[in-house]
Symmetry: C3
Subunit: 156 residues, 3 copies
């Protein structure tokens, strides 16, 4: 029987929203499923060597954060660094690997990593900054070709 | 024939984005489909007894809001309360139940409610604060096991 | 054999997040797949004639933006206009059509466009402002009826 397939689009590049696509993908392959991730818009940061170790989270406009601060405080210089550092501590506490470590796990376990070509052009990204495992820029058609035969599809 | 299945991930904890997973789930069971929701990251607030009646929405960084205010105004103290109150009025006008009411509808109609274990640890959440219908913390594998045989999968 | 089907929910109304549902839908029909989009919450702006040419993006609370500015700067009056103008330039550079053009492509190529009825009521939207191709307001049940037989389902 064919393996079950999970087709993910990763469109966010903040520290918090970089975890779900990588966690789901690495769990899927551990469960002997096939998985592919299409990185588009801000999500491309997740496979950008110059950025993926330094993804950030801003402490404003999300009143659902564990320790919300007033937006006027969250907008102050330095507060993004504070929130990012707190989030990293929280993920560590939960035994979560870092984003670069998780990207590595995904790449080594055969998760297909597709960087979005129009995003690379629009955001003037140097293709050499993308990790080698995500070396083949492509369009939405490659994602859809995989997703239409997949069992789970998620836009993150 | 087996029932159709809907597998949802709820990752947001703002008032506006708490509605879609609950509305879709309650509609799905009303249509005689099976449904499960995995609550992760900020989405865990939706099944947190101490929080779910007081979810908020911030009036900044979303220029698509019905009545956008300049971000510098939206960041002022008290403006999150104003926007939240407006949003509650809008949902009431559309005949929408409150979030706790909708959670109750979902729980009573058999929607599976899974709280994310790593989120509980990372965010130091007291398990007693989670509603009893969502009493069994689990990981992404439980979601994927359900989702891979589901007909609809959504990351919200 | 039946055509493959893609069932999308568009819930965001910012300039950046208006592109994914329209790009995926237009690509899907070009690949001879069927596609339907349910526009809910802020996503309804995408098919609102008075708004879709002027969708905006705010330069704050998203540290993953290509050229992030400090939140305190991003909150200043005029900065949303600056970020929006930059984003439009980026999309043009990547050869992307405008949002109204993409909506038109989707409508003409047979993508089903469903505006969410509760959103229309909640946000007091004049039904005459919705483009004629999305003339039939409906609820989540219409989406789910389509999605449960679809091959790809995405919440954007």
């Amino acid at each position: 029987m064919d393996k079950k397939k999970v087709a993910i689009i990763a469109s966010k590049g903040t520290l918090d929203m970089a975890y779900p696509p990588l966690m789901i993908a690495s769990t899927a392959v551990a469960m002997d499923m096939d998985c592919g991730i299409f990185f588009t818009f801000y999500g491309l940061n997740i496979v950008n060597k110059k950025k993926y170790a330094n993804l950030k989270v801003a402490p404003l406009a999300n009143p659902a954060m564990p320790m919300p601060v007033p937006n006027i405080v969250g907008a102050l210089p330095g507060m993004t660094a504070v929130a990012t550092s707190m989030m990293k501590g929280m993920m560590k506490k939960a035994g979560m690997p870092s984003i670069p470590e998780l990207v590595n796990v995904c790449a080594e376990s055969g998760v297909k990593l597709w960087p979005c070509q129009p995003t690379i052009i629009a955001m003037s990204i140097d293709p050499n900054d993308i990790i080698p495992e995500a070396a083949d820029p492509c369009g939405a058609a490659v994602y859809l070709e995989y997703a239409r035969d997949a069992d789970v599809s998620l836009f993150i």
